[in-house]
């Protein structure tokens, strides 16, 4: 045993070191390979993914009205904007915006604004869906948690939130129906 820890005649790595490294490496690889199924099992399961899109009917929403639908466990704001609201959103120069984005880039049809109703600051649901709600200084939404103001395009205008309200992927399946996700 005494000789196995010493350098070989040609001055190479001692045999015991080599064996230790190979054993530890294979054991480490094995642990990593086994860890993957465990970690992956915490990702959304297939039944969760199967429910990851939501259909919404827009026909009954009159101009100026807003509805909230659930998508992936989060509220999605659907607002039927009035011409004045569209006008207000489009009149703002991009240089005034914290997260510059044109209103045109945020809608498919100008009268329908569809955004995820989660404040980009720390995840509260902003107010502004009900007619009685405060809508903030820019007529969009107001987040009461930390005072973020969003405009009629759902863009951040004032307060700590860094980004505009997220526009989810959606498509019009007919004139009055959309599928989110």
């Amino acid at each position: 045993m005494a000789d196995s820890g010493e350098a070989t005649a040609d001055g190479g790595t001692p045999r015991r070191d080599f064996l230790n490294l190979v054993t530890a490496s294979f054991a480490g690889l094995g642990v990593v390979a086994v860890a993957w199924p465990f970690i992956n099992s915490m990702q959304p399961a297939r039944d969760v993914l199967a429910l990851a899109s939501t259909d919404a009917e827009l026909g009954s929403i009159v101009a100026g009205q807003a509805v909230t639908v659930m998508w992936r466990g989060k509220p999605v704001f659907i607002r039927h904007r009035t011409p004045q609201e569209i006008e207000a959103a489009r009149a703002v120069p991009l240089s005034e915006l914290k997260d510059p984005q044109t209103d045109q880039a945020r809608v498919t049809k100008p009268e329908w604004l569809i955004v995820v109703g989660v404040c980009t600051h720390l995840g509260c649901v902003p107010l502004g869906q009900k007619p009685t709600d405060p809508r903030g200084e820019y007529g969009g939404w107001f987040c009461p948690c930390h005072g973020s103001h969003y405009d009629t395009s759902g863009r951040i205008r004032k307060g700590p939130a860094p980004l505009n309200l997220t526009v989810p992927g959606y498509a019009f399946t007919s004139d009055t129906k959309i599928r989110i996700g």
């Binding site: 465990f38 099992s41 399961a45 297939r46």
Partner: protein, 422 residues
């Protein structure tokens, strides 16, 4: 003991900084590095380490399964099916956990058999042995409650039959059963508490395993010769000799485990448990999991409710007093020609009971179970105490090194010959 920093000789400065304040590295080096271990272990001495690994696997898979399981009678079965079909790698986690229970019992049965054959329960290792029996009982309780969780037919009726065992006790029986159920039958409260306890008990097992190892490291391991090491010539440092030997055994263990999980995941299970629990219909043939069958056979061998229950619990309770039933000072059966045959016969009876426990309660299995049960108890209560007085053991080797490095028992006076490696 004086307080202050520990005088550490760990070379790495960062590890030494920690070791001076909390000498865990020194402890690991002492208990698993240089720990003197008999040099003559055979592969039966792998099974303690295998059981440890198995416990870790069960806890890891169990924690991840609990993230997806719902302990409610109306959702439990479906949540298990969801684990099998929808959760990423859920099938793998569940099959590893279910077959891991079987592997655990295989490993632990071999571990216990090893202790009985080589007399590891004898002085000074009685407490070590008793802690092991406690672990075994905790394992049985944990496994039983785990089998109830999928809420299939076997889960439900197994739970009903096993909890009803306690109704056999006079006066308090009814009270105990209601306490277990949280109602008047196995129902949602039962499922809820079984889930809670099934999550708790493995950590209790971890605690008792720790005590088991503490006790082991005080007395040191037994060995196939059953004689104590007399000096450094009889031992090897645990690392690398037994870390390497355990690792090899571990690889074989993983291969067997993998074959079970990937090629026969339901071989040891029961198809009736894929039918949702129905309190109105009992399956025609109720059997517990295979690892309970020997004890189930003892239960059924006795034609009396209380008697059967007492015999079943007694068959395990006897293990606690085994160190005092076997009075022979010779540990290893290698040197006990009669006890060796008696114990191998006991082993056969264990398998016979395992077989009969899985068969319907009819002839010839009932008679065979009774004969095997009688021998099971006779071995502990009659044969071992008698053999301790009557048996003439074979001569023991002078030392482990003598026996391993050549030469059998020496004539008296010749044992003082120095070893070439001290």
């Amino acid at each position: 003991m004086a307080s202050g920093l520990h005088n550490s000789d760990i070379p790495n400065p960062v590890l030494r900084w920690i070791d001076q304040r909390m000498p865990v590295f020194t402890m690991m080096q002492k208990e698993y590095g240089s720990f003197p271990t008999p040099r003559n272990f055979n592969y039966f001495w792998n099974f303690g380490a295998l059981a440890m690994v198995n416990l870790v696997i069960m806890i890891a898979t169990g924690i991840f399964l609990a993230m997806h399981y719902t302990p409610h009678t109306s959702m439990a079965f479906d949540s298990v099916e969801r684990i099998m079909r929808d959760v990423n790698f859920g099938w793998l986690l569940r099959y590893v956990h279910a077959n891991g229970a079987s592997m655990f019992f295989i490993v632990v049965y071999i571990h216990i058999w090893r202790g009985m054959y080589y007399g590891s329960y004898k002085a000074p290792r009685e407490l070590l042995w008793i802690l092991g029996v406690v672990i075994f009982l905790l394992m049985m309780a944990t496994a039983f409650m785990g089998y109830v969780l999928p809420w299939g037919q076997m889960s439900f009726w197994g739970a009903t039959v096993i909890t009803n065992l306690f109704s056999a006790f006079p006066i308090v029986g009814e009270w105990i059963v209601q306490l277990l159920w949280g109602g008047f039958s196995v129902d949602n409260p039962t499922l809820n508490r079984f889930f809670s306890l099934h999550y708790l008990l493995p950590f209790v097992i971890v605690g008792v395993v720790f005590l088991h190892i503490v006790a082991l490291h005080i007395t040191g391991s037994n060995n196939p010769l059953g004689i104590e090491p007399k000096g450094p010539q009889d031992t090897l440092p645990f690392h690398p000799y037994y870390t390497a030997k355990d690792s090899f055994g571990l690889v074989i263990y993983f291969i067997v485990f993998a074959v079970l999980v990937f090629f026969a995941p339901n071989y040891l299970g029961h198809p009736d448990n894929y039918i949702p629990a129905d309190p109105l219909v009992t399956p025609a043939h109720i059997v517990p999991e295979w690892y309970f069958l020997p004890f189930y056979a003892i239960l059924r061998a006795v034609p009396d409710k209380l008697g059967g229950v007492l015999m079943m619990f007694g068959s395990i309770a006897l293990m606690f007093v085994l160190p005092w039933l076997d009075g022979s000072p010779v540990r290893s059966m290698r040197f006990r020609p009669l006890a060796r045959i008696a114990f191998l016969l006991w082993t056969v009876c264990f398998f016979v009971l395992l077989y009969c426990g899985g068969k319907p309660a009819e002839e010839p299995y009932v008679t065979i179970s009774r004969i095997a049960t009688a021998y099971y108890f006779a071995y502990f209560l009659v044969i071992l105490p008698l053999l301790a007085r009557l048996e003439k053991p074979l001569p023991l080797p002078e030392s482990i090194a003598r026996a391993v490095l050549g030469g059998g028992p020496l004539p008296a006076g010749a044992a003082a010959k120095p070893m070439e490696k001290a």
